[in-house]
């Protein structure tokens, strides 16, 4: 399974990239976050349990137990601050 990752705002800056293509090791959004945490460093820090971030799959915010469809567009971003 593949995913097109998008990162926004503070997380885009901290990760040093706006997007990337990933081969997924697991099936859920939680598995994906764990896969990114395993990179260590800033990834482990920003995506640690208790840190506030949101995950959107194909442009809808989801909970971490959501099963990812193949070739999903998965975005990870901080809580929103518009308006």
């Amino acid at each position: 399974m593949k995913a097109h990752m998008l990162y926004f705002a503070r997380l885009r800056e901290r990760f040093g990239m706006a997007d990337e293509h990933l081969e997924l090791a697991g099936t859920t959004a939680a598995d994906l976050v764990e896969q990114l945490r395993a990179r260590g460093g800033i990834w482990a820090e920003e995506l640690a349990a208790g840190r506030a971030f949101r995950v959107a799959v194909n442009q809808d915010v989801v909970t971490l137990d959501t099963v990812l469809p193949d070739n999903a567009e998965v975005a990870i971003f901080p809580p929103v601050t518009g308006g």
Binding site: L6, F8, A9, R10, A52, A56, Q59, D60, V61, A75, F77, P78, P79, V80, T81, G82, G83
Partner: protein
């Protein structure tokens, strides 16, 4: 319904006139304009840059306007949100709601703003004398949005 994400300025009067154009069934139009302030969290703000998630932003705004339409009898809704670099005093967001009566228009306008603050993927980065900083989400915005959960 009109939903726009744009870098340019908007004109509240022109948007309200466009809603009224050619119809006589509207009894009330409630509008809100949010502005960039020169102060936040105790620091002067010299400018701010608004980033968004193209595609999801429009989808999220349409979803919350749809929700407003199911909760109240609305005749028209306009939402315009700016992105890019803005200066203190610049308008950021406009919400205008037309209805037969004021109650629905006021309530839906406030609901749309509260929902937008917590659900639409925009992020603000401020330029201050101490440097740049990303604005943190406020728990008071979550509280305001939660008022509408029934």
């Amino acid at each position: 319904m009109k939903i726009l994400v744009q870098t340019g300025a908007f004109d509240l009067g022109a948007e309200v006139d466009a809603m009224r154009q050619g119809r006589t069934d509207i009894g009330a139009i409630a509008s809100f304009v949010g502005l960039a302030r020169d102060m936040n969290e105790g620091s002067g703000v010299q400018a701010m840059t608004l980033e968004h998630y193209p595609g999801m932003t429009e989808k999220a705004l349409a979803a919350l306007v749809d929700e407003a339409n199911t909760r109240w009898a609305l005749l028209d809704v306009t939402v315009i949100h700016r992105v890019g670099r803005l200066l203190p005093g610049d308008p950021i967001v406009l919400v205008a709601v037309a209805s037969s009566h004021r109650g629905e228009a006021f309530a839906a306008c406030e609901f749309i703003m509260d929902a937008l603050k917590t659900r639409a993927p925009f992020w603000k980065k401020e330029e201050t004398p101490e440097g740049e900083r990303w604005v943190d989400a406020r728990s008071s915005d979550d509280t305001a949005a939660a008022r509408w959960d029934t």
